[in-house]
């Protein structure tokens, strides 16, 4: 059963929850709904919160949400936790720290499991954010799964990225490594009442100062918080607001939107093309023999993938169908 678009636009919680679940479960009817919702998205400000497990992301999100609510902003939260690689099950516990918003109609919290997707998000995260956006949430906070060093998918989705670190997790070599530390717009040294907090802050500041920043370019800032006691969170929100103003400058927001469009398209395209290729191969009875040949080392996967990619199915998709007019000119390639 599909969810009516008007119910989402009017902010109906049940309808939105159903749609989000259907999207997470990749139900075809939900894809039809999100097609019509797409043109209603793009109004929300998206804040990413990432960092190691136990860094205090949920607690921080909880505090930020309170501050945003006190300023009259409505908030959507997509909180991601890992799926068990063994059972496919998950324990989604981010709500525990956000209980105080459980009765607030201005806050919608959706817990998501990674379901095997790498990168720190679930495959459905962009869709879920789009639904919250269409519901009219002013700010959408994405809390990634607890990440290590290379789960940086959030950078493609959020306007502003907070990277939450805690004192004592590593020496200064950790701080110059590539990956997660490169994606921060704002570093948050949480649990700053712990020993080593100042050292951690200094190390990150040193790392940031080694970067080169052009005129008017954003230089990542480093703030300290103790989310558990709500210390430093007000200052953090001010900094977030400053970054929002930076991103939403006339000259920047257009390129951000185009970059986001590219990510969205490529993600969806990737899934669809694989699906289509596998379906085509299966329908023509080719898949199993190919796998058998590979198992016997008579064929290699590289050549097969090349052939499949050259096949005309990719182009058939584009015939007779205009790309959806999303109101923007000049859409990538």
């Amino acid at each position: 059963m599909s969810v009516p678009v008007k119910d989402i636009l009017s902010g109906n919680v049940r309808a939105a929850a159903r749609l989000m679940r259907d999207l997470d479960d990749e139900i075809p009817a939900a894809i039809r709904t999100i097609k019509s919702l797409y043109r209603h998205t793009g109004r929300a400000y998206i804040l990413g919160v990432t960092g190691a497990p136990g860094a205090g992301k949920s607690t921080l999100v909880n505090r930020i949400t309170s501050l945003l609510r006190s300023r009259g902003k409505t908030v959507g939260i997509a909180a991601i936790d890992p799926t068990s690689p063994y059972s496919g099950g998950a324990i989604l516990g981010d709500r525990i720290r956000m209980q105080q918003h459980a009765l607030d109609e201005g806050v919608f919290i959706k817990s998501l499991a990674t379901r095997g997707h790498l990168g720190g998000l679930s495959r459905s995260t962009i869709d879920i954010v789009n639904v919250m956006d269409a519901m009219g949430k002013d700010v959408i906070i994405i809390e990634t799964v607890g990440v290590g060093q290379d789960e940086v998918e959030i950078v493609k989705v959020a306007h502003t990225n907070l990277v939450v670190v805690v004192p004592g997790l590593g020496d200064d070599i950790q701080a110059i490594k590539a990956g997660i530390l490169e994606i921060a717009d704002i570093f948050v040294v949480n649990k700053a009442d712990r020993e080593g907090a100042e050292k951690t802050q200094r190390e990150i500041e040193t790392m940031v100062s080694m970067g080169e920043y052009g005129e008017g370019e954003w230089k990542p800032s480093v703030l300290s918080t103790v989310a558990a006691t709500d210390t430093g969170t007000g200052e953090l929100l001010e900094e977030v607001e400053r970054h929002r103003a930076y991103v939403f400058q006339e000259s920047r927001i257009a390129s951000y939107r185009r970059e986001k469009a590219r990510v969205e398209l490529l993600e969806i395209l990737k899934a669809r093309l694989i699906e289509k290729a596998v379906k085509d191969l299966t329908r023509h009875g080719l898949l199993e023999p190919i796998l058998e040949d590979m198992a016997r080392k008579r064929k290699d996967p590289y050549s097969i993938a090349e052939k499949v990619a050259d096949h005309s199915f990719a182009f058939r998709l584009l015939h007779g169908k205009k790309p959806p007019a999303a109101g923007g000119k000049g859409d990538g390639r």
Partner: protein, 149 residues
């Protein structure tokens, strides 16, 4: 503890619809003992269920609101405080109010035998008492609760 590693594992290919059972495990009321709830949550995870764990001291309103936002198939409540005769019916009423009557409510804890038939009559699907094998609860969830179609 019995773990059912790999039992209900669903590794769907990208683009393939795959419904997963989603269950909210919550602790309404004032008692602060959540070990039982955590063990259940873990066992269900090991059985391939997505468990939304909401933590301690939840009011029925909070639980039902979370259940609505998370679009769960079932709610498992752990109650050790003696307030089960109030908390279970309240959750059921709120679900009905929100037109979520199809969400299966089950629970466990320190619940006198005499109270169980009354709770079941009121709409609680199943009540587990101390001593129940974890596997029994897992089998119940897998057998009784279907992901929404």
């Amino acid at each position: 503890m019995a773990t059912a590693r790999g039992k209900a594992a669903t590794t769907a290919a990208p683009g393939k619809p795959s419904r997963k059972i989603r269950i909210l495990v919550g602790k309404p009321g004032l008692d602060g003992h959540d070990r039982g709830a955590k063990i259940i949550a873990r066992a269900l995870r090991d059985a391939g269920v997505e468990v939304i764990y909401t933590g301690l001291h939840q009011t029925p309103e909070m639980i039902v609101n979370a259940a609505a936002q998370e679009d769960v198939d079932g709610i498992g409540l752990s109650i050790l405080s003696g307030a089960h005769n109030y908390l279970f019916p309240k959750v059921l009423d709120l679900l009905k109010e929100k037109k979520m009557g199809n969400v299966v409510v089950f629970g466990g804890g320190i619940i006198p035998d005499d109270d169980i038939p009354k709770l079941v009559k009121r709409g609680v699907d199943r009540v587990f008492t101390p001593g129940t094998a974890i596997q029994e609860i897992v089998d119940y969830v897998n057998g009784r609760i279907q992901p929404r179609r």
